[in-house]
Amino acid sequence: MLIITRISRVLSNFQNLVALFAGACIIVSLIGILSLPLAFEENQLYPKTRLDPTSGLYPYDRGGVPFGTTEVICQYPENSPYAGYVTTYLTPLSLFLAENTLYIGTTIVAHPGGIIDEILYNTRGADTVVETSILFTAFAIASYLYRREEE
């Protein structure tokens, strides 16, 4: 009975909360180390293949015809009928950059149109919705607390 009382005293103090959770995480990380090696599945969604260093879009060149189709390996292709269109679209600026330079593929792809935009906005758009909401909520908390002090 004494042990139980002692445990509950530790548990009841929320100052120990972080330590308890950290302890649990350490145990799980040990389980993780013990469960190694884990096999890497080669058959991935949105794989990073076709890396062609001579392309102006390297490392994001995924081929395809603008306003046409590109093969994007996604989970439910039937749900996004226009998958791949975004990937191959280049704005005039990015088209200019792609034709004239090598080595700034990242900039070109980050500009609207590209595989990452495809994933973030189209096929996995709901992720982005939630993520911006998190930013919004967190910022609302911070600014509420900050403004309250100002008053």
Binding site: Y60, G105, A110, I116
Partner: protein
């Protein structure tokens, strides 16, 4: 197995250890040490050609640093 990957992992480990067991145990030292695993992770991302994530990561790390520094400034102003 390429050099970038191994190097990144090594720096990540060094960085994590240095943040976890920081000497001298001051806020500033820990804050500076926090940059080390960030660069290690950057190398790991580089090894997998995740260029866009890498660039965003660098910028976000700087912003997080600023968030913490801002807190330290308020702290020093009030203490």
């Amino acid at each position: 197995m390429n050099t970038t990957f191994i190097l990144g992992l090594a720096i990540l480990v060094i960085g994590v250890l240095s943040v976890a067991f920081v000497r001298p145990k001051t806020y500033v030292a820990r804050l500076i040490n926090l940059e080390i695993p960030a660069w290690g992770l950057l190398l790991v991302m580089l090894a997998y050609d995740e260029a866009l994530a890498l660039m965003t990561f660098v910028a976000v790390t700087a912003i997080s640093t600023f968030v913490i520094v801002r807190l330290m400034e308020w702290r020093d102003a009030s203490c």
